[in-house]
């Protein structure tokens, strides 16, 4: 038998918000081998395009996952709009940016909380989630849904935000910013967090590139890779530069996300001030025919929706390449040789989202 401890990690495990499974082979507490296995929440929803109207399918697309659901719907709609050559109204584009960035805020706060919890820092978890409720509140007030917004549709958005509301949202975010930066300070400066994150789960710039990492994982390893740089939607009008940190460890990835909170706040601010008046949607006639790769930046990195239609109301193919899928090879590399106690920290540091990875 040797001196090995073999334990199952997942699918049901308190630190795993979503089920995956790892066979962990440990020696003392050092992970010698981690063999992943997935499929616990595979639903097969891409296949549903064959049964659903492409316009209604947006509801399914946004239920690929409940955390960045809005961005999924944006990606999907963008794809259809590109195939059908629809230009959405500017106001709709700006509203999409606002909600996207709200999603990012709430997702990053959610992640920060879970990350803190994985390290056993319960108070910080509570703090992050307490602040997150502010974002959810705004989302619900503007779209009617806390986590599944359902406010994006092919050809624009489903509901408008009044200019008064926009102003009060902006004011609310400014008011909450000090608390956010205080929390950010804890993440970035606390000694004990440092002990758990610095030098843990290192992914070098080269391996990050070779293994095809995306999102904060890539940016934490020093690669400036952010789909928002492509300027989709209204992003081309906004002043944006990605947060890039070198280091490649859990601390760097955490730092990327912490700093992105403030980029998001900034982007929302910009979008609100630049918000044009006008319609929020254009009518959509006909059915899509053709194919398109739609790229957007989710909180976890770049997501690609591949859409192919043949002129009927049902699409031929819908395929999603999710950031988690792209980051898993990096994760496997990070896990080798780590401590058991760091497994949750490292796993969470890529912000795995099995929901969309398995669909």
């Amino acid at each position: 038998m040797g001196r090995e401890i073999v334990i199952p990690f997942g699918p049901q495990h308190p630190v795993l918000p979503e089920p995956i499974h790892l066979d962990l082979v440990l020696e003392d507490e050092m992970v010698k081998e981690a063999i992943p296995s997935i499929g616990y929440i595979h639903r097969g929803l891409e296949k549903l395009v064959e049964k659903r109207d492409f316009k209604n399918y947006v509801y399914i697309a946004e239920r690929i996952c409940g955390i960045c659901s809005f961005i999924h719907s944006v990606s999907y709609c963008q794809g259809i709009e590109n195939i059908m050559e629809i230009t959405i109204p500017d106001r709709a584009a700006y509203l999409r940016v606002i909600w996207s960035e709200y999603s990012r805020l709430h997702s990053h706060l959610l992640w920060l909380g879970l990350f803190a919890d994985a390290m056993g820092f319960e108070n910080l978890f509570m703090t992050a989630w307490r602040l997150r409720e502010h974002m959810l509140n705004d989302m619900e007030e503007t779209t009617g849904g806390r986590v599944i917004q359902g406010s994006c549709k092919v050809g624009g958005v489903r509901c408008d935000i009044s200019n008064d509301k926009l102003a009060s949202m902006s004011a609310g975010l400014t008011a909450i910013e000090p608390e956010l930066s205080e929390m950010a300070g804890v993440f970035l400066e606390d000694e004990t967090i440092d002990m758990r994150t610095r030098g843990v789960g290192v992914l070098s710039k080269d391996s990050a590139w070779d293994l095809g990492a995306v999102g904060p994982v890539a940016r934490g390893s020093g690669i400036a890779l952010d789909a928002r740089m492509t300027g989709y939607g209204a992003y081309e009008h906004l002043d944006f530069s990605p947060v890039v940190i070198s280091g490649g460890d859990c601390y760097a990835r955490c730092r990327v996300r912490v700093e992105e909170l403030f980029t998001s706040l900034d982007l929302i601010g910009q979008a609100i001030t630049m918000m044009p008046d006008g319609d929020i949607e254009v009518p959509v006639r006909g059915n899509p025919s053709g194919e398109f790769f739609s790229r957007t930046e989710q909180p976890r990195g770049e997501v690609v929706h591949y859409i192919r239609g043949n002129g009927t109301k049902n699409l031929l193919r819908h395929r999603v390449r999710t950031p988690t899928t792209a980051n898993i090879p990096g994760l496997v590399q990070m896990l080798a040789g780590c401590e058991l106690a760091n497994v949750p920290v490292i796993v969470l540091s890529i912000d795995p989202c099995i929901g969309c990875a398995e669909r």
Binding site: P11, Q12, H13, P14, V15, P17, E18, P19, G39, Y40, I41, H42, R43, G44, L45, K47, L48, K51, Y59, I60, R63, I64, C65, G66, I67, S69, L110, G113, F125, M126, W129, R130, R132, E133, L136, G145, R146, V147, I148, C353, G355
Partner: protein
Amino acid sequence: MSYLKKSPWILHYDASSCNGCDIEVLACLTPLYDVERFGIINTGNPKHADIFVITGGINEQSSVVVKNIYDQIPSPKVVVAVGICAATGGVFRECYNIKGGVNTTIPVDVYVPGCAARPESIIDGIVAALSILEEKRKAMKKGETPL
């Protein structure tokens, strides 16, 4: 005197949800909703749990897991299916990999509708589960086979 109603510990498992209901279940534990007011603790261990909260529909792989976890929860226990996915499979009902709601695998006591279910709704669901839990305890005491 029953303490069960005052100290229900929950175990949450994501059978194949989209995360929407998941994060709402988690949100219940956080300051704004704080279910610990009712003595509810989210325990990660089926052997310590009283209430099994499931989100998402059942797929081929998760059904085994759900069954396994359910068996390891000591009686009396109740199952709360959160979200319509957990009830019937929801929008994914017709996906090839979805068997349907949780009731296809284990008996469900409370359904919390919604997509995603709101935290308040989830709290209501758990409160509803408490009285069922109490009934089951009485039944168990009488020597009936616990479910």
